[in-house]
């Protein structure tokens, strides 16, 4: 179980541009939870994920994983239990490395890297097996540079890499937002398959309310750095887009961006 208690995060603290991005945010993430996170621009969704991954240090609050306090762990150390897929499809892979090299890097996530061979011949079968699931033919292109792949293929590869070593927490930060609708749908289907097959504890930030409703067992709505709505199970399953919109409007100072309405 992952527990976040009273998280606070400021940007430009003490200056005129101060932004209180995360405000006293607390959440208990149960083992196997697949949580979709929605909210308008600037609600703090991505910042919240960055706080969990350790990219941004917290101003206050505490994060524990299975009882271990990881609040002061640097990003690379937390990577030992966190798998991540970014919004930018180019961010999750090394363009200059081959598919096999990228997979080999991901296979050592959270472990010491030594002087043994980087890409071990024995691991190639594992790589092929994991890539075959994608149905993109990448299993026959292990030697190709990742930079040669399309955005969708790279995002699919990143998805496989993030889950190659089973993460205790999978963070998906609008990972389909930069893709065309067809590719986005494919990546989303892949996401659902991988997450449900592995029973992975997952947080997925999205701007698309349909996605947020269709996927996962739990939905969290954020606004101005706070969680304003948290539903799960049957209650979530019964929700429609209208209900979510209403929830937004019911916030006194709710501002709904164009993007949110179009979602």
């Amino acid at each position: 179980m992952i527990s976040a208690q009273a998280l606070n995060k400021y940007f430009h603290r003490g200056s005129v541009n101060e932004v209180h991005s995360i405000r006293d945010l607390s959440i208990e993430i149960e083992q196997g939870d697949f949580i979709t996170i929605i909210g308008s621009n600037g609600a703090g969704k991505s910042t919240f994920l960055s706080c969990l991954s350790g990219t941004h240090p917290l101003d206050s609050g505490c994060i524990t994983v299975d009882g271990t306090d990881v609040t002061r762990w640097p990003e690379h150390r937390r990577a030992g239990f966190i798998g991540r897929v970014f919004q930018d499809p180019l961010m999750g892979t090394c363009a200059g490395g081959s598919i096999a090299q990228n997979m080999a890097l991901a296979l050592k996530r959270g472990q010491r890297r030594g002087l043994s061979r980087g890409v071990k011949p024995a691991d190639r079968e594992l790589f092929r097996e994991r890539l075959r699931v994608l149905g993109l033919g990448l299993e026959d292109r292990l030697q190709d540079r990742a930079g040669l792949l399309s955005g969708g293929q790279r995002q699919a590869l990143t998805m496989v890499m993030a889950t190659l070593v089973r993460p205790k927490l999978l963070l998906l930060d609008e990972h389909t937002a930069a893709l065309d609708p067809k590719t986005a749908a494919q990546i989303l289907e892949l996401t659902e398959n991988i997450v449900t097959a592995g029973g992975l504890t997952t947080l997925m930030v999205t701007h698309n309310m349909h996605q947020a409703l269709a996927l996962g067992n739990r939905l969290v709505m954020m606004h101005r750095g706070r969680i304003i709505f948290d539903v799960r199970g049957k209650e979530k399953a019964g929700l429609g887009v209208e209900d979510l919109l209403e929830k937004f409007h019911s916030q006194e100072d709710a501002e709904i961006s164009d993007r949110m309405l179009l979602g």
């Binding site: 970014f86 961010m91 090394c94 363009a95 890097l105 890297r113 002087l115 061979r117």
Partner: protein, 294 residues
Amino acid sequence: MTLYAFLGALEQGFLYGIMALGVYLTFRILDFPDLTVDGSLPLGASVSAVTITAGHSPYLALALAAAAGFTAGAVTALLNTKLKILHLLASILTMISLYSINIRIMGGPNVALLGTPSVLTDLEGLGLPLFELTPMFFFLIAAAITAGLIWFLHTEYGQAMLATGDNRQMITALGVNTDNVIIFGVGLSNSLVAFSGALIAQNQGAADVNMGVGTIIAGLASVILGETICGKATIVRACIAVIVGSVAYRTAIALALGLKLGGFSFTPSDLNLITAFLVIIALTSPMLKRRFAR
């Protein structure tokens, strides 16, 4: 060009090629423009010269020089990663500090190594004249180091280093402490440069505080010339290209210095101009090739 001059260019090419491998490691692999090398080359030379004049083995001198170079590189990387000083500025700070440090080490601006043993002393008595043996000897050393670097870059840690230069956010998300990788990488780079400087000092029989001026440019010229000649499709190819580029660079300079056009000839002080010219040609040649191919 005489055979003698050509062998001299080969010798210089292999010697400075080791330095160019160090520049390749920072400039191309880590994407860390590192000017420390202008100070770590004479650092290696100084440490080597002082060790030998103190009566120690010339091989120990090489090892100490490499260690000193590693320290210098690590200082630059620490300034950058821990104190958040821009990499270029951090390396310049280390470079200028090394000027003072090198004079402290030598107790003056230079040390002569006349009549002292060097790694070349052992080559005498092998039958062949020294001007033929030395290029071969330096070729073996450069080849061994190139092979070592190629091996290293294919290890788990080496692959993480490549990824650090390529996509730092990604490799951090995969659990690598990129600060440590950069410190080790820039250190390793400068240990190669200092090792090269130590060999150069033993070869030319002197260490001088000013011998490092223009090292970074010569290194870059070698890397870029090599890429133009050999390509950089794989690590193996790119590493070998650095040595080929270094030899090509020294040969081009030897040719230019031997050139006589009527009353005009180049002097060693024209080296910088020639180097800049070579780098510009190498950088623009792919573009020119495309243009003429149409």
